[in-house]
Amino acid sequence: MPNDPAIRPLDGLDPQRLGETRLLATRSVRDRIAALPFATARDIDELAAGLETLIVVGGGKLMDEAKYWRFTKSPDTRLIAIPSIWGSGAESSPVAVLNRNGEKRIHIDDRLVPNERCVWPELAESIPVPRARDACGDTWSHALEGFLSPLASAQLRSQLAVIIRELTGLPLTNDPAWFEPSAQACAAQAQSSVGLVHGIAHTLEGPLRKAQPEAGWGHARLCANFIWPVMEFNRNRNDKWTDLADRHELDEAAVFERLRDLHDPSVYDQTLKTLDAMWPDILRDVCTRTNSALVRESTRSWFLDRSFE
């Protein structure tokens, strides 16, 4: 996959090869990282420029901070990414999304891609199942929106079709088999674009989090609950999905069955008031504008009236 970092087995993290190394890990996996023979840093501010290797173990948020630190403060540092959950694809993406004073800043540069990535399968065990399901929705969104993107090349679509076939066979739970296709899907969609699912998620996650701080709203949960309605919209609006699925021998029924399984009507219902209020912003979002079917003012009712059901 283009731009995907080199994959290294976990037991290939040899202290002698890596030189002066620091390990930065998210809180939920700190017990496990004691097994690795490296000094740890408690947070990003403890890292010194010029470090030879930084190993980051965590989700997208911590990984993006580490990527940005390396990019701005220590560009010669080797960055090795070990995801603690799939979905964001931060371990293979040229994007870093940073929260600064409540404001989201997005940086895109090929130099943000980690040098290497590892899969640590046992980390999946500590992921709560509902969170894992949402992460599966994020992965599905990257794969399908990248595949359908008007900017995708024929070669990229072929690569994403392989990933989509693999996802179709995976259970929507905390199964470590998700780590690899998630990283690949993200690396691939970075070569094309995402679409309306991401336009909705980017627009709604901040307002929903602010309105319901205890509800745990996040990007992945929105992706998981909107990928089915959006894919039904795409399929209804033009023949692109049907034609491409046929050409790449994708099992359309199996794909849509998975997407339906990801959708929780009670969660979806909680977003509708905000979606209605924020629709003009959704239309302006850059991801919405590269959706495979044209999204218009009138599309709002597709979601509010649940026309996909």
């Binding site: 008007p150 900017l151 609006r237 033009n238 003009p280 239309l283 302006r284 850059v286 504008r289 590269t290 959706n291 495979s292 079917a293 044209l294 218009r296 003012e297 009138s298």
Partner: protein
């Protein structure tokens, strides 16, 4: 709905224009929202509404509404009033 009306509705939606801002001589550089993402959306919308798929070269060469109409007219889609 005539093809002229269909195109007008399409561009109002994509470029997020007020109806009073639209005219058929509108140029890309006169519209702040007519950026590269809108070029992609116009290609998708023209495909859906007129059944013609712009090549990337055709899409990038569009400098205004008149270019869209002349390309589509060359494919047999009439915009006669």
């Amino acid at each position: 709905m005539t093809n002229r009306e269909k195109l007008r509705e399409l561009l109002l939606d994509i470029l997020l224009l007020d109806p009073s801002e639209f005219h058929f001589d509108l140029k890309r550089d006169e519209v702040e929202t007519w950026d590269s993402m809108s070029v992609v959306a116009i290609a998708v919308g023209v495909d859906e509404d007129f059944g013609y798929h712009f090549s990337p070269e055709e899409a990038m060469a569009i400098t205004g509404v008149a270019d869209i109409m002349s390309t589509l007219e060359s494919k047999g889609i009439s915009f006669a009033e």
